[in-house]
């Protein structure tokens, strides 16, 4: 453990925040920590833009006849989907926590390509601005899935402009993935073998594989869609000999692995939090690490389960259904290993751990309902209904956003040098858990009862459950606004954080000061013990 500096001097010592001031030091920085903060503020902004659209949708669904005109509602759910998927969920943890922590966790001074990292943020902002421009001019009403031939021929909204926005921000995701892969391969500190890498790094390595291998396919799909919309050559238009199912194949080839881009970083954060707050090594470290890679690889084989009813041949559907069950196993292994880690641990209930409990419970429900959708006969009944909406919100909001909030609270001291108010944070976590379940559990029932998704008006018999869902959404909104307030307050006025407030293991806590200097370490770190060595055993132990 490096020597503990008395409180007073911590602030004086130069760190990545106070080493330089002024907008130039932010907009032209190549320091991965500052780029992480740039991403943090822009992603939070997009999260609340997407959230505003969600509030609009829930208000409209209070009554069977809806509040808004059809077109407005169609644009609301489309923009909610696009902003949340491409501008919040895909970049969130990798671009913020990943950017900030991976170099420190592997013991490097920065990512492999710092300038490409800055370019990645600029591409994200340019893509975001283009998408916002499309919204300002009237938005797009094709759904975030842009299905042809509606998007290529029949919709008269700003499809091409939005597609360009998503296309540009896609390259931001590719470059982040490329940066992480090269950093993990070539810039690990001496002693930091693959078997000692924190699971946070394993999770992001798997995510980067998907970002690098999947995103280019949606880039070319959007280019073809844009060309089709201009030339009407018929590549996706059945009236001119094209096949709209081909668009769905190319779209979902990226978009299903994209949901693993969203959840794997969440799992990565949860592995760290559960190990730290149980004060115990992760149970089955090798299995949890390898299951991240297994999810990344198998994730590319299963996209056909989005096309069971779309006109795909029955034999292909059977193949995709079987593969979709295979991909569920690594996720199950992770959940079992987290639970087993808590066995005989010494568990404390700080906020990150509350979010971890929430994640494990809700992600389990989200994953299991995924099995419902992988079962062919059930999918025929429930696809394109609110059952699917509930499933992916359980995984994305119940899983990913909970892990994101948990990660932000867990590393907030390291990032800002300050502590957040514990009781307010616990209260907010509770509200998020309650609000979330009230919002999305009724949608499972709505889904099996047959209420289709993307409906501006719905039959009266579905109203009661919809009102419950809207009520839940308002609670959830409060749950998301609270952290904004107390974290902003804590950034300036929170109590000074010691170097390792949670007594956690890992280079970022033990060998890097809080907040870290520009090059992360005063002396080059050397790793001598296995990851999560909370029990203080000296020698290398045979991995489970």
């Amino acid at each position: 453990m490096s020597t503990m500096l008395p409180f007073a001097q911590i602030e004086a010592r130069p760190n990545y925040l106070n080493v330089d001031y002024g907008w130039k030091s932010w907009l032209f920085t190549t320091d991965h920590k500052r780029i992480a903060l740039l991403y943090l503020f822009s992603i939070t902004a997009f999260f609340f833009v997407g959230g505003a659209f969600a509030v609009g949708m829930r208000l409209n669904l209070l009554t069977p006849d809806g509040l808004f005109a059809h077109d407005t509602y169609n644009k609301l759910f489309t923009m909610h989907g696009i902003i949340m998927v491409f501008f919040f969920l895909v970049p969130s943890i990798p671009a913020t926590l990943g950017n900030f922590l991976i170099p420190i966790m592997v013991g490097a001074r920065d990512l492999a390509f710092p300038r490409i990292n800055l370019l990645s943020w600029y591409l994200y902002i340019i893509g975001g601005v283009i998408a916002l421009a499309a919204i300002a001019q009237g938005g797009v009403d094709t759904g975030w899935t842009f299905y042809a031939p509606f998007s290529s021929t029949y919709s008269n909204t700003h499809v091409i402009l939005t597609a360009i926005g998503v296309f540009v921000s896609g390259f931001s995701s590719i470059l982040t993935g490329l940066n992480f892969i090269v950093t993990v391969h070539t810039m690990r500190a001496p002693g930091m073998t693959w078997g000692r890498l924190p699971l946070f790094v394993w999770g992001h390595y798997a995510t980067s594989l998907i970002q690098v291998l999947g995103t280019p396919v949606i880039a070319i799909t959007l280019v073809l869609l844009g060309l089709e919309r201009i030339l009407h050559a018929g590549i996706f238009d059945p009236a001119l000999g094209g096949d709209p199912v081909l668009f769905q194949h190319l779209f979902w080839f990226y978009s299903h692995p994209a949901v693993y881009i969203m959840i794997l970083p969440g799992m990565a954060v949860i592995s760290e939090i559960v190990a730290c707050f149980s004060r115990k090594a992760i149970f089955g470290y090798t299995f949890v690490a390898i299951s991240s890679i297994a999810i990344a690889v198998l994730g590319f084989l299963v996209w056909g389960h989005h096309l069971f009813v779309a006109g795909q041949s029955m034999y292909a559907s059977v193949v995709f259904s079987f593969l979709s069950f295979l991909v569920a196993i690594p996720s199950a292994i992770k959940v079992f290993n987290w639970t087993a880690t808590m066995y005989k641990g010494s568990i404390s209930y700080e906020t990150p751990m509350l979010y971890a409990f929430g994640f494990i419970g809700l992600f389990t429900m989200g994953g299991l309902t995924g099995l419902f959708l992988a079962t062919l006969a059930i999918d025929v009944h429930v696809t394109d209904t609110y059952f699917v909406i509930a499933h992916f919100h359980y995984v994305m909001v119940g899983g990913m956003v909970m892990a994101y909030m948990g990660g932000i609270h867990f590393w907030f001291p390291k990032i800002s040098g300050r502590m957040y108010p514990e009781n307010w944070a616990r209260f907010a976590a509770l509200i998020v858990f309650v609000g979330f379940n009230l919002t999305f559990f009724p949608q499972f029932i709505l889904g099996y009862q047959g209420m289709p998704r993307r409906y501006a008006h719905y039959p009266p018999e579905f109203q009661v459950l919809n009102v419950m869902s809207t009520a839940g959404a308002s609670i959830l909104a409060v749950g998301y606004v609270l952290p904004m307030i107390y974290l902003a307050w804590a950034w300036r006025k929170g109590p000074k954080a010691p170097q390792n407030p949670w007594n956690a293991k890992g280079l970022e806590w033990e060998q890097s000061p809080t907040p870290p200097p520009t090059f992360n370490f005063e002396t080059q770190p050397v790793v001598t013990e296995p990851a999560y060595n909370y029990s203080g055993e000296e020698e290398e132990v045979q991995r489970g």
């Binding site: 509606f150 021929t153 029949y154 639970t339 010494s346 047959g450």
Partner: protein, 320 residues
């Protein structure tokens, strides 16, 4: 249907099978969730940190047998789900080959046009008899829609440019909702309607009510008008395969494949004849009709061509 009913109204035998599978999945799902919630709660309380300076617990790095157990066990349960789901999927999407009551449904931006072989036409309404397999032949005139009847637990995307089919055998008379389940534009949420299940007696009565020129006659007119009859029926020079008695039977193609002469095959052979050439016949003989015959005309031609293959005498059991 009550507000909190987890099983909506059921109007066909297949719906019962799907509900049984759903019940099985619910049991497995709720069971697994309960196990996880129980253990997380138990460990969180039992092993909570009493005071700050508790000794760090001993590391347990993992156990291979446990890892294998909780990988293989879920996989076996999943195999049951997979096989059961796949079987029902094939049953529901593969119509019986003979004596089904065929209804032609065409999706158009924001309405469903339903046509019966006897010529009746309806908008957003479907009338079906109980106790007899009803086969839906689905087409679309513009974008992708999806003909969804929750009471039968069935839907299928209606992809323009091809026919999709599924079938059901209604059991409970009543009125059930029809929805469009694939987003198709502005009034996607208003593109619904009602399916009325009637017992055979009332249905026969209803059927004789509205009589327009039956689809078969209009199909025959088109069959003459486009000159199909000259090659496919009267011509004996063998330039093109005869269309008598071919519907529902396998057809051997020139590249050796065997294809079933169903609606999709006939439609494709009209619009894009070179796609599948029957063994022993030459390519590039039949003109391409892509873009010349609209959906309605195609459906009428289909009914007429099917009438050229009279169903085999009722005695033979339909192979399902």
């Amino acid at each position: 249907m009550g507000v909190f009913d987890i099983f909506p109204a059921r109007a066909s035998a297949a719906a019962g099978n799907v509900d049984a599978l759903y019940a099985f999945l619910l049991v497995v799902g709720i069971g697994m969730t309960a196990i996880i919630f129980f253990f997380v709660f138990l460990f969180a309380v039992k092993y909570r940190r009493r005071n700050a300076d508790d000794p760090a617990p001993r590391a347990i790095h993992g156990s291979l047998p446990l890892e294998i157990a909780w990988s293989v066990a879920p996989f076996l349960i999943m195999l049951v789900m997979f096989a059961w789901g796949a079987k029902l999927y094939f049953d529901n999407y593969t119509p019986p080959l003979r004596d089904t009551f065929d209804v032609y449904v065409t999706g158009k931006q924001w309405m469903w046009k339903v046509q019966y072989p006897t010529g009746q036409r309806e908008i957003n309404e479907l009338h079906v008899p109980t106790g007899r397999p009803v086969k839906l032949i689905l087409a679309s005139e513009d974008v992708i829609h999806s003909f969804y009847i929750p009471a039968f637990r069935l839907k299928h995307d209606v992809v323009p440019g091809s026919y999709q089919t599924y079938w059901f055998e209604p059991t409970k008379p009543g009125r059930y909702r029809i929805f469009c389940a694939e987003y198709c534009g502005t009034n996607h949420s208003d593109m619904g309607g009602w399916v009325t299940v009637m017992d055979p007696h009332d249905f026969a009565e209803w059927l004789t009510g509205g009589t327009g020129g039956s689809m078969k006659e209009q199909g025959e007119k088109l069959f003459q008008q486009y000159g199909c009859v000259t090659c496919h029926v009267t011509d004996r020079e063998g330039r093109s395969p005869s269309l008598l008695n071919i519907f529902g039977k396998p057809v051997v193609l020139d590249d050796g494949r065997t294809v079933l002469a169903d609606e999709a095959y006939i439609r494709e052979s009209i619009l894009n004849p070179n796609a599948k050439i029957v063994k022993g016949y030459k390519r590039d003989i039949m003109p391409v009709f892509q873009g010349q015959i609209n959906e309605e005309g195609l459906l009428q031609l289909m009914v007429y061509i099917k009438s050229l293959s009279p169903p085999v005498s009722a005695g033979k059991e339909s192979s399902k």
